[in-house]
Amino acid sequence: MRTIFRTATGGKQGMISLAILAAVLIVVFPLFFDIFRLNLIGKYLSYAFIAIGLVMLWGYGGILSLGQGVFFGLGGYCIAMFLKLEASDPITTKIQSTPGIPDFMDWNQITALPLLWQPFHSFTFSVFAMLAVPTLLAFIIGVAMFKRRVGGVYFAIITQAIALILSVLIIGQQGYTGGVNGITDLKTLHGWDIRTDNAKYILYFVNVALIILAILSCRWIISSKLGLLLLAMRDKEDRVRFSGYDVANFKIFVFCLAAMLSAIGGAMFTLQVGFMSPSFVGIVPSIEMVIFAAVGGRMSLEGAVYGTLLVNFGKTFFSESFPDLWLFLMAGLFIAVVLVFPNGLAGLVGTWINRRKSRTATRTTQAAPSDGWQRGANSNEPDLKTNHDSLPATKPQGI
C-alpha cells in the first residue's frame, strides 16, 4: 500500500517515459548525428537542467523565476575560472606582461591574480563553488523574498532585475570577469583536452547521465510529501500555512533546488562549449529558458528536456536560414503554448495517451469489469483524468 502511493506520481508511466528519453539520448542521437551535431545537442541538454529546475519551481511550486540565467551563469563561471587558470600557465602566457594570469586580465593592466580567483586553482573547490555559490545566492534571495511573502509577478520582476544586475556587473568588471567576451579559450581539465572529439563524446554522455539523475531526484521529491505540499501550496497557500507549515521554507527549498540544477547545466555548458559569457546571464536568455519549460510542459520533467531540445533545434535551424525571423517565431511559439496548449508538449502527449487508454479501457471493461477497479486502486489522479477525457473520446464511438 505504502509503495503504491509513494510511486503514484511516477509509477509505471513515469518509468516508461524516462526509458524512452534515455534511449533517445543515449542510443538514437549518438547513432544518427556526427560529433559536431552531438556536441550541439549536448549544449542544448545543458539548458535542459534549467528547464527541469523550472518544472519544479514554476510547474510544481507555482513560482515563476525569470532570472534562472543568473544561476546558470554562476555555475558556468565557476568552472570556467578553473579551466581558464589551467589554460593560463606561465609558459603559454609568457608573452604577456604578467605571465601566469588569464589573458584578459593582462589586457586590463592587472598585474596579479585577484584574491577572488585564487581558490579556483583547485578543481575540488571549483566544483564545490559551482554548486554552492548559486544555491547560496538563491537561498539569500529566497529568504529575503519569501519570508516577506513577496510572490507572483513581483518575484518574477525582482529575478529579472537580478539577472540584469549580474550581467551588467560581469560586463563592467572586465578585468576580473573577461567582460562582454566572457571567459574564452578554455583548453584542458586536469590536462585532459576537452576540445577533442573523444572528450566531447564523453562529456555528452556525462551530461546525459546527469540529466537522468536530475530527473530521478526530482521525481523522488515530487513523489514525497513535499511534492504534494507544493501542489497544495499552489492551490491554497493559506490552508498550508494554517496546517502548521512554514510556507516560505518550502519555496526557498525549491528555489535553491532549481538554482543548483541550473548551475550544473552552466558547468556542463562551459565544459562542452568551451567558454562562458554574460550573454547567458541576462534578461533575454532567462526568459528563453522559461519558454523551454513552457513548450515542454511545465508539469513534466521529461517534457522539459524535449521542449529545450525542440526550441533549440528550431532556433539553430531558423537562425541559420532566417536570422531576423527567429525572434518572432519564438514569441509566436510562446503565445501558442499559452493559448492553445498550456500544458505544453507533455500535455498534448498525455491527452493522446489517456484517450487511447480510455478507448482500450472501455473495450476491456466490457469484457472484464474488474479492470476499472484495479486502475482505480493503483493510482487516483491519472485515473480521474482518464475518466474526464473518456467522455469526448467515447462519444463518437457511440454515434
Binding site: I221, K225, L228, L229, A232, D235, K236, R239, F242, N249
Partner: protein, 247 residues
C-alpha cells in the same frame, strides 16, 4: 465545584486598519472544553477576531493568551503547532488532491522541509486518516478528488483536516454555510461530538444551529462585545435584539 480552567484569554485586543478599529479593546475568555459561538451583524469584526487569534492579522494592541503562550508574538505556523486550528469561511481545501491526500497533509508530523522529504505513510497515518474520514462521513470518498465533493462535504473535509492536527482550540468560521438541512443536523452532531475534549470558537448566523451547539454565546458589535451568556439570556437582551436579531 472548582472553576474550569481558561484555555484562551483575549484581553484589550485592538486592531485598526487605517484608523478604523475593526476590533476595539476586546476581552474574550474561553474555558477548556467549552463551545463558544460568536454572533453579530456583518462587519462586527467576528472573522477579524479569529484572524487575530490565529496570527493571520497582527494586533495593534492587546494580548492573546493561549494556555501560557502569548500568541500575538508568534508566527502562524507556530500558533498552529501550539494547538490552535482554524477553518476559513469559504471551504479551503486542496481541490486537485484526493480526500486522502488532503487529510494526510494535515497529519502533524514531518512539517519541515526535510521532514516532508522523509515522510513515510505509516500505518499510524493511514489509520488516523480512516478514523477522521469516518468521523466526517467521508470514508467512501477517500480516493475522490476533493474538488468533486459537494459544498457541504468540502466544509466537513476542512474540519477533518483540522481534526487531523488534534488541536486543543478549534476555530470555525461559518461551518454550515451552504449546507442542506440534513447536513446542518449532521454538522451539529459532529461539532457536539468533537467538542467533548477540546475548546471551540464558532462563528455562525443560523440561530437554530447556534442553539443546538452553543455552551455560551458572545455577541459582537462594531468590534466590541455587546453581550455574553447563554443563548436564552442573549436572545432576551434588548440591545442584541436592537442591533442584530431584529424586531
Amino acid at each position: 465545584m472548582p472553576a474550569s480552567k481558561l484555555i484562551l484569554a483575549v484581553e484589550g485586543l485592538t486592531v485598526s486598519f487605517d484608523g478604523f478599529k475593526a476590533v476595539d479593546d476586546l476581552n474574550l475568555y474561553v474555558e477548556e472544553n467549552e463551545l463558544r459561538v460568536v454572533i453579530g451583524p456583518n462587519g462586527a469584526g467576528k472573522t477579524t477576531v479569529l484572524d487575530l487569534i490565529c496570527g493571520k492579522t497582527k494586533a495593534t494592541k492587546g494580548s492573546v493568551q493561549f494556555k501560557d503562550l502569548e500568541l500575538t508574538k508568534m508566527s502562524e505556523h507556530a500558533i498552529v503547532r501550539a494547538g490552535v486550528g482554524r477553518k476559513f469561511q469559504t471551504p479551503s481545501i486542496y481541490e486537485n488532491l484526493s480526500v486522502f491526500q488532503n487529510l494526510e497533509l494535515s497529519f502533524p508530523t514531518g512539517r519541515g522541509v526535510f521532514g516532508c522529504l522523509m515522510f513515510e505513510r505509516t500505518d499510524d497515518v493511514v489509520a488516523r486518516v480512516h478514523e477522521i474520514a469516518t468521523e466526517i462521513s467521508l470514508q467512501e470518498e477517500l480516493q475522490l478528488e476533493a474538488g468533486l465533493l459537494s459544498h457541504g462535504q468540502k466544509q466537513w473535509l476542512e474540519i477533518g483536516m483540522l481534526l487531523m492536527q488534534d488541536p486543543e482550540l478549534l476555530m470555525l468560521d461559518e461551518p454550515i454555510a451552504g449546507m442542506s438541512a440534513r447536513e446542518r443536523e449532521l454538522t451539529a452532531d459532529l461539532l457536539n461530538r468533537i467538542g467533548r475534549d477540546r475548546s471551540m470558537i464558532v462563528i455562525e448566523h443560523d440561530m437554530e444551529f447556534v442553539r443546538k451547539i452553543a455552551d455560551k454565546v458572545t455577541v459582537l458589535h462594531q468590534g466590541k462585545v455587546l453581550a455574553e451568556g447563554s443563548m436564552d439570556k442573549v436572545q432576551a437582551d434588548p440591545r442584541v435584539i436592537d442591533v442584530y436579531l431584529g424586531h
